[in-house]
């Protein structure tokens, strides 16, 4: 660990900062290694939300009264924060949504329906989360387009040769995750986006696992859409953002109809509102936006670079420790990776691994992680997964390994 980063994290004393980390599970202090599924909220995020509820909450937009103006201000400030966080040129390009899944469905059901017709192709990778497969499957079955798979290699990387080869004028959309939630693979978006652009395809990036862990710059990535969830970056559930290039967003039809996405409504016809409101029908998650911005403030105060560096060290330390452990197998060995590692213990089903680890106070996720195609590729039904966040440290890895040993001895493997 670099000295600077170490200081930053020591100074944070995470267990004091994140209330949920103060609890004991099975008589042991909680070690939370399920960050890829969802993160725990720092006190300052909860405080920001509570303070907002107590002094500024009201419905946003339209209102003349003081609370409604405060709420609108806070809501739009949050949009600015999100835009800045991912390097968007304008906050008009930020659409607030429930999370990554809703963002991807929005793109599939608006831009997707515009861009894709019978005989066209939509490419998604074999390492996608179901949320970045099913919306495209639905689009393809609706339009008669073909869903094409960018295959995995044994190391857990994408087979880029196949990818470049498969791209053609027929490819209209390429949808890929920035970081895999099972393998931790960090995909080379810049390179992939460049090729996709050369055949005129739009590039949709599932940023659920990159936004919390890397410093993301959507302009530098060269993609057209980027989707992520607040609950994976220490913000509230029920909140997330879709970034899209302004010209694409402008050309897209609205998705949901209702209050706020219209300029005027009458029975003879309705005019849509400008960006981003065209895509935000109904009362949004107002307090959620405030919480998301507070979470971003929290991350930025530490610094995304130190976070990435620190988590990279934890990840490598965890991988080494797991690889050194008898009867333990690690899934994949991707070239570039971040924050997530999946493993198997010979002779112990992942479900039982998760159970024993929980009893030892170590929370990991077990199962197919909503990425069944990866399971199929490796020929396993499920894995155990440890995923890291800002509040983890080296002692958590020791606890993980100890718990794995307990499991092995309990099951006598």
């Amino acid at each position: 660990m670099t000295l600077d980063a170490k200081t930053a994290f020591d100074a944070l004393r995470m267990r004091e900062i994140v209330p949920a980390l103060r609890q004991e599970i099975g008589g042991h202090p909680l070690v939370y290694l399920d960050n890829a599924a969802s993160t725990l909220r720092p006190q300052q995020v909860l405080d920001a939300q509570n303070a907002f509820e107590e002094s500024s909450y009201s419905n946003v937009h339209r209102g003349v009264h003081t609370l409604s103006q405060r709420a609108t201000q806070a809501f739009e400030d949050a949009r600015e924060t999100v835009a800045r966080f991912i390097g968007a040129t304008s906050s008009n390009e930020i659409v607030f949504v429930r999370g990554t899944t809703e963002a991807l469905n929005l793109v599939a059901q608006t831009h997707g329906r515009q861009a894709v017709s019978e005989g066209d192709q939509v490419m998604v990778s074999e390492m996608e989360h179901h949320s970045n497969i099913v919306p495209w499957q639905m689009l393809c079955s609706e339009t008669g387009a073909q869903l094409v798979k960018i295959p995995l290699t044994e190391s857990g990387d994408l087979d880029l040769d196949v990818y470049h080869e498969a791209l053609s004028e027929r490819t209209k959309i390429v949808a890929i995750s920035h970081v895999s939630n099972v393998l931790g693979t960090k995909n080379p978006i810049e390179e992939m986006a460049q090729s996709a652009r050369s055949v005129g395809a739009t590039v949709v990036v599932d940023g659920a696992q990159s936004a919390p862990h890397l410093g993301v710059d959507v302009e530098a990535l060269g993609c057209d859409f980027y989707a992520f969830s607040a609950h994976k970056l220490y913000g509230p559930s029920g909140m997330g953002a879709l970034w899209g290039k302004q010209d694409l967003l402008e050309a897209m039809p609205p998705w949901q109809g209702g209050g706020s996405m219209i300029r005027s409504v009458s029975f003879s016809g309705t005019e849509w509102n400008e960006l981003p409101y065209k895509f935000e029908a109904g009362t949004p998650n107002i307090t959620g936006a405030v919480g998301m911005a507070a979470a971003i403030d929290f991350l930025e105060a530490i610094g995304l670079e130190p976070i990435a560096a620190r988590e990279a060290e934890l990840l490598e330390a965890a991988r080494s420790a797991l690889l050194a452990e008898s009867s333990v197998q690690v899934l994949g060995d991707p070239k570039q990776r971040a924050s997530v590692v999946s493993f198997l213990i010979d002779g112990i089903h992942a479900h039982d691994v998760g159970q024993v680890l929980d009893q030892e106070g170590v929370a990991v996720r077990v199962g197919h992680h909503c990425a069944q195609p990866i399971m199929e590729f490796y020929g396993v039904a499920s894995t155990s997964r440890a995923s890291f966040g800002v509040y983890n440290d080296a002692s958590d890895i020791d606890r993980l390994i100890d718990a794995i040993r307990t499991a092995k001895s309990f099951f006598a493997v």
Binding site: N59, V60, H61, R62, G63, V64, S68, Q69, T72, Q73, G259, S260, I262, R263, S264, E271, N273, E274, Y277, E280, G282, T283, P284
Partner: protein
């Protein structure tokens, strides 16, 4: 109440109750609509242009005190000016009503640009972000009218959002 007075200065109430240059022009060279869906306000601005000279501007429509007074004051301020001077004035006016963004610091107000004269009475709007669009509606419509390449009607909907 003192805050209210800062927003609704006497001049504003006066122009609200007795708008000047209210009504259609017989032979306008340009017309533009403006609408603020936020409050349903509609405005129609009539412009009599003579080459580079803005000879006369009038307006019609129904709006709140701020938007009506702002339109009325605008018609007085711009009639007889050169187009370029109108544009400059419009710029300075928008700075006036948006610059301090509610911080209330008068010193933030722009020091350069043409003298705003009576238009200064609308400075209080700065404290009320949601009302800024009321104050600028007529100016947006005027700009749309002047920008329209051909005589005819231009539409200018002030973008806004409405949720509840």
């Amino acid at each position: 109440m003192s805050d209210l007075r800062a927003l609704y200065q006497e001049v504003i109430l006066d122009h609200y109750k007795q708008p000047r240059n209210f009504g259609a022009l017989d032979q306008p060279v340009r017309i533009a609509h403006g609408s603020n869906p936020l409050c349903g306000d509609q405005i129609k601005v009539y412009v009599d242009l003579d080459g580079d000279l803005v000879k006369q501007v009038t307006f019609e429509g129904h709006g709140c005190a701020i938007s009506t007074a702002a339109a009325s004051l605008m018609t007085e301020a711009v009639s007889g000016l050169a187009r370029s001077a109108v544009e400059e004035l419009s710029h300075t006016f928008r700075d006036l009503v948006t610059s301090s963004d509610g911080s209330g610091d008068q010193a933030d107000a722009p020091q350069d640009g043409p003298d705003l004269g009576k238009l200064e009475v609308l400075a209080g709007v700065r404290e009320y972000p949601v009302r800024i669009k009321c104050a600028t509606l007529a100016w947006h419509a005027l700009a749309a009218a002047m920008d329209a390449e051909l005589a005819g009607e231009a539409d200018q909907a002030l973008s806004t959002v409405s949720t509840e």
